[in-house]
Symmetry: C2
Subunit: 324 residues, 2 copies
């Protein structure tokens, strides 16, 4: 498809905000509201690296949007608009492009986010996508990885590890055969189309200290909070929430439970808050219908320590976590 047709016939109809200028102008013009800071994030995804080439194009578009909205949610920001970078091999079928744009448009509508602009290029070897998402948060209120404080409780939303099980199911990994067909389908849906915590994130402003989304894996993202805050995070493995599929797959097996906590693509929020905010944290999560679990605490020191069911630290080496 020629760029002109792609923009005029497919993208312009889903870029309805004034800021997009009908995609006639190569740049968006947006008036930010007074009293708000902007949060800006960008994620790239490539076929065969971040998604499977035969994933449904609408699901790829939704995932591209949602991983960015998850970044905004982790900062407490309400998403406003996005710029799309679309790198397509010259042989990309029109039907693929149409399904991708339709999926993006539907998901933008679902989240009330505007398509402001972007760029499309041909001549690449594999579908290569980029999305820049811009959100707003009351000035001075943005959450971040660096604001944990010693004594904070560590929380995580939802359940951890279904992204891994979904990927296993898609790639035919044998161990997930013990899951029911419904459980496998639920994990695949979650891997392909995560549910960013766009409502809850902004509601945590003023309650949470540090916050991150679980994209690289719970332990890695907790590690990022620990490093950025210059503190130690202690996590009780027994408290890490699992879905019914996650419980069935891992049971009491420490290695599998650690695998769930090490894999990425969950797009939950991991955050810290002072003990004084505990009741308020539970209340706000309930208000948004989001399960929340206290999974540990913040202490002086560095790194992440995972405790087993008897409170003993597990040590990590190159092969993964092991009993110390």
């Amino acid at each position: 498809m020629k760029e002109r047709a792609l923009i005029g016939r497919l993208l312009a109809p889903i870029a309805r905000s004034t800021a997009a200028r009908g995609l006639l102008d190569d740049a968006a013009v947006w008036q930010p509201p007074a009293g708000q800071a902007l949060v800006l994030t960008k994620d790239m995804m490539a076929a065969g690296v971040h998604f499977l080439p035969d994933d449904p194009p609408a699901a790829i578009a939704a995932k591209l949007l949602r991983v960015n909205l998850s970044d905004l949610a982790a900062k407490g920001a309400v998403p406003q608009g996005v710029l799309l970078g679309l790198g397509l091999p010259d042989a990309t079928p029109d039907a693929w492009i149409e399904a991708f744009v339709a999926g993006l448009g539907a998901d933008l509508d679902h989240f009330g986010v505007a398509l402001w602009g972007g760029d499309t290029i041909g001549g690449v070897d594999r579908v290569t996508l980029s999305l820049t998402a811009i959100g707003q948060v009351p000035s001075g209120g943005a959450l971040g990885r660096m604001d944990a404080r010693a004594g904070d409780t560590l929380y995580v939303t939802g359940s951890i590890g279904d992204g891994l099980l979904g990927l296993h199911a898609l790639t035919g990994e044998a161990s997930v055969e013990l899951l029911s067909p419904d459980e496998r389908a639920a994990c695949i849906a979650r891997y392909r189309c995560p549910e960013p915590r766009v409502g809850l994130g902004p509601a945590l402003v003023g309650l949470a200290h540090a916050c991150a989304d679980v994209s690289d894996g719970l332990l890695a993202d907790a590690g990022n909070i620990a490093e950025a805050s210059g503190l130690k995070l202690v996590i009780d493995l027994a408290a890490v929430p699992r879905s019914p599929a996650g419980v069935r797959w891992s049971g009491a097996d420490v290695a599998r439970r650690l695998a769930l906590a090490t894999a990425g693509d969950d797009y939950e929020l991991v955050f810290t808050a002072p003990a004084s905010a505990h009741a308020a944290v539970l209340a706000v999560c309930q208000r948004f219908g989001v399960r929340v679990s206290a999974i540990g605490r913040v202490e002086g020191g560095t790194g992440v320590v995972v405790l087993d069911d008897r409170g003993r630290p597990l040590t990590v080496d190159r092969a993964g976590y092991q009993h110390g």
Copy 2:
């Protein structure tokens, strides 16, 4: 190079603004100033499509930045910050990455623009780049393609066609052998490292009606203004400014002069302004040391009409412009 090293060792040192949060936080947080609208633009570039794979990496980085700054200048916006998307084949040499980042950092400093964040991915087949640039313009003042008015004079800055000659010189096209070595070098430098009109663009706010940058070619970009404004642009070919190299290469040859006006990568500004603003347009261009040429006018109608040296319209067909 691992993503962690790339971010921590190379990118974090050039991301010094508060908004970047030391690249520790997966998103930038920026407080826009009151009374300003934001202009947001995004361009992608891929090796072998938008630049030659053996171009110097610092020049590729500078061009990626500058094509986006040119988009902002065409809206009258002062650039503030960028988000970088860096897709690298796994075998990319560290020295290439280091030179790319060093070049980007130097050019960001040159233009006083902050690196706010971005994303890096591996696993792609060719270097695939994306940059989102954000600028600011007094609220309500943004220039655009859609604001030309009948009776306006059409202007273009600098000279047109050196980008084409630079590309010809790099690819060994025979016709550029008549240029002197210095002329060829100047055209190559201009192709590789355009000079966006970042000072002049914002100074045209309040003077110019419509404005665009010359990225796709003067006639194509003028055509975008005509289409977005719902008007006709009439261009005197004799008035289209050429560099000494352009004059030497094209002389009085209409086909070559049209080729210069049809090729892209000039990154000049093409804009319209009312006759009453003519003296002010000349004065502001002089203030920024930028050559400016009145090359035509805006009329009722549609499309772009190019007049030959005797004022006769040239007609265009699939093979290019011809005498009508």
